[in-house]
Amino acid sequence: MLSPEHVRVRRQGGELKLLALGGELRARAVAIAGELAATAAEHVGRSRAELETAWEALPVAPREKKLRQGLEKLVEDASEFEGGDPEHAAELRRELFGLATKRRREDAEGAFDRAGIVAEIAERRGMTAEAVEAALYADLRSAQRLVTCRPPDPEALVAAYERAQVQAVLLRAVRVVADVRCASGDAYRALFRQLKFRRLMHRVSPLDGGGYRVEIDGPFSLFQSVAKYGLELALVLPALEACQSLDLRAEIRWSQGSRPLSFRYEPAPGRGELATTSARDEVQELAGGLRAAGDAWRVAPAERVLDLPGAGVCVPDLLLKRASDGAEVLVEVLGFWSRASVWQRVELARRGLGAKVLFVVSSRLRVSEDVLDEDGEAALYVYNGHINPRAVLRHAEALAAAR
């Protein structure tokens, strides 16, 4: 991951904007990436300090300096370094410094024969004086040897730099507001799972025209705009990018003590890994079975996120709409998920989901349908073996009939 120091930005009013790598500068970026990678390849077997000095000597214009540092970081990330044996170095230091103290104290004049002391240690250890000098601090980071370096080609390296910049900016975010739209419940679920895993807090509200606005920050953000959650917000970015569409705005505390700046990121639609992911096989199979079961209920992918502040989020997979009166029942297929996830849904249902929801659960999870009363907003359908579409419809009828 890049750090904010590697990012090329400019402030425009209250906004923080990434500087695009266009035209000539992009060509320069590719050239610099190539030079850095080639220099690293030449330095395999040599020290990190030597590599850094060689990189520093590559001529770049002042405005290209950050770009070079960011690309250096990415080449470093694709490299492997090996340090000297710290035990061996520490042992040598112990012996050498102990002898030096002794010799200094022994001399009545306080004279200090450095070369003589090094030679004495070298002789004791069967080494040359030069080898002693080299091994003395061989365990420092600057002395680490470059073992391998396999960066991607220069074009790919520059593309990686551009992507990594957004994440680096979010390291200083105090709050993120993301307008997202997902192709399936699974993608929404993956997003909310990430938010929960990162211990972030959110508020969800539906957007006109579909999708949701998710406001994300941390528990303490209620009292103060803090960048403490920046790392978590940055780490959530891949889950946000995995949505079919994303329009992200963030408040960024770019420098200490300054007022937050706004930042916007809107990647091209459908670029996320899960953007085109359709529903799970079992959900698709169930949808097919429900359609084949007759015209009384229409089946469509659900696009609703049921958020219960303080309790959790429920993301149904399918929407069933009764043809005769338009009554709606949402279906979430939990299948073989954990018992804990079932109990979490039960808790949500008891608090009131604000919609009629049928949870479809495998009997392997050893949960009884009686846990939820079908007179309420939600019900459990526990199946044995395969999900029976007709049984789902029976439960849907019962739920629709409930007040």
């Binding site: 410094f97 104290r105 004049e109 004279a111 601090y137 807090m201 303490f220 209620l222 009292f223 303080g310």
Partner: protein, 464 residues
């Protein structure tokens, strides 16, 4: 109605109160549909609930009574007893200001014993983690937890660093009833402050020799810890409780080649400053310089020139030659050698074959170096900044400051490292300053403290 208190990631959630209820320090949180307060306000909220006569269930508090009693009873010095009494009188919240070497840590141990709650000690460096770990183990004869430096072990008595406390307090902030912020001048600031905000501990003690900060943010210690409840100055305790000391500023001329290069590089740097209209004395001066320097080739040259002239002044060959004389003169004493940067510390180590402690030194090797230094097996230790604070080296009697920042606090702390009292000990601090360079002004700034005035202070440009 029963109010339910929960610790949630460094905050306290209050379930069961209606939206619109007025709760001190708390706000209604629409994200979780309950009231929420910073964990710091826990004690005040409990007092408010009691006063309001509201029933509550406390699921937030996870700290325990401390079972262990002090196993090692050391008779406190009179001022330590007074400090503890002042802390107690302030309800177990406050800052105690005592000079380095006066035994602040012992006051901390007494406070933990007095409050009898599981306790967390937050310190700035891994060396201080090690030192507090040893102190708590021997004082309470029990195992002590460490969070930081690759360890994550929580126990009723735990030591951590400010960095780790900032990162992890949201997870373990409910487990301690007493928190001690050692060298608490580090606490104010956008990040470390959260270590105090996200901690539930009702009892809070700050320890420092120099709580004042150049940015004036020490005012927030009142909110994060409590008021200054006790204060004693270095000159009040010198002689009786601290070692007698002398400070010597040695003015050292650059060699002819270095002088010529210094003047040339400084000229390049100053000309750029004049040309670009940057005023370094202003609040944003340094940042303005860095920003302008990154834009043009002349700026890049000016920044390089600035660094080179500074390097020549801070680590001139003549200073190292003078250090050689001091090492010879004090070869039977214990000497700490301070530098501004790691490169100089390693250069000193290589040239004079003395051990060095920097942030890169592994914990085990640090411990071994300090043990050997204490036992006399090593006569000198070089360091950049990591030994500035708190580390207890009672046998050290000579400090040599080869280079440093303009910070008064840093300079007082460095002096403090050799002030721990021993019978017949006369401490001495040498400050080596390159004559006719910008370093002379830096030296003036850092000596603006009572510890550097008075009879024991002299300047010299002669042989030691």
């Amino acid at each position: 109605m029963t109010v339910e208190l929960r610790f949630a990631d460094g905050t306290v959630e209050l379930g069961g109160l209606e939206q619109g209820s007025e709760v001190p320090f708390a706000e209604w949180d629409p994200r979780s549909r309950c009231h929420r307060a910073p964990a710091r306000a826990y004690a005040e909220i409990i007092l408010w609930l009691r006063k309001a006569g509201l029933a509550y269930e406390d699921r937030a508090r996870a700290y325990t009574e401390l079972e262990e009693r002090l196993a090692l009873e050391r008779t406190p010095r009179p001022f330590q007893t007074e400090a503890l009494a002042a802390f107690r009188k302030a309800g177990g919240r406050g800052v105690i200001v005592l000079p380095t070497g006066a035994g602040k840590s012992h006051v901390g141990v007494l406070a933990i014993d007095d409050r009898r709650r599981s306790a967390l000690v937050v310190v700035p460096t891994l060396d201080l983690v090690r030192q507090w770990y040893d102190l708590l183990r021997t004082s309470f004869a029990t195992e002590v937890g460490i969070v930081g430096g690759g360890s994550y072990e929580l126990r009723p008595l735990t030591v951590t660093t400010y960095d780790s406390a900032y990162l992890h307090m949201q997870h373990f902030g409910a487990r301690f009833g007493t928190v001690i912020f050692d060298e608490c001048h580090h606490l104010p600031g956008a990040t470390y402050e959260l270590a105090a905000e996200l901690c539930l501990a009702p009892f809070r003690l700050g320890l420092s020799a120099t709580p004042e900060r150049p940015d004036g943010r020490e005012a927030s210690l009142l909110r994060l810890i409590g008021p200054v409840v006790y204060r004693r100055d270095i000159v009040e305790l010198a002689g009786e409780y601290l070692a007698e000391y002398e400070t010597v500023r040695v003015s050292i001329e650059l060699g002819p080649d270095e002088r010529a290069e210094y003047d040339e590089q400084r000229q390049i740097y100053l000309e750029f400053l004049r040309g670009s209209g940057v005023r370094l004395g202003s609040r944003t001066g340094w940042n303005d310089f860095l920003m302008r320097a990154s834009r043009t080739a002349a700026g890049v040259r000016a920044l390089a020139a600035y660094r080179r002239q500074r390097e020549l002044a801070l680590a001139s060959p003549e200073k190292l030659h003078y250090l050689e004389l001091l090492l010879s003169r004090h070869r039977q004493d214990r000497m700490l050698i301070f530098t501004e940067d790691n490169a100089t510390a390693y250069a000193v180590s290589r040239r004079f074959l003395v051990p060095v402690i920097t942030h890169q030194t592994k914990v085990r090797e640090r411990s071994e170096i300090l043990d050997k230094f204490a036992s006399g097996e090593y006569g000198a230790v070089a360091t950049s900044k990591v030994l500035n604070e708190g580390v207890d080296v009672p046998d050290a009697s000579v400090a040599v400051v080869i280079s440093g920042s303009g910070s008064v606090r840093e300079h007082v702390q460095r002096l403090g490292r050799v002030l721990r009292r021993r019978e017949g000990k006369q401490a001495i601090l040498y400050e080596l300053v390159s004559a006719g360079t910008g370093e002379a002004g830096t030296s003036e700034r850092r000596r603006a403290h009572s510890a550097y005035r008075g009879a024991g202070v002299r300047s010299s440009d002669a042989e030691p």
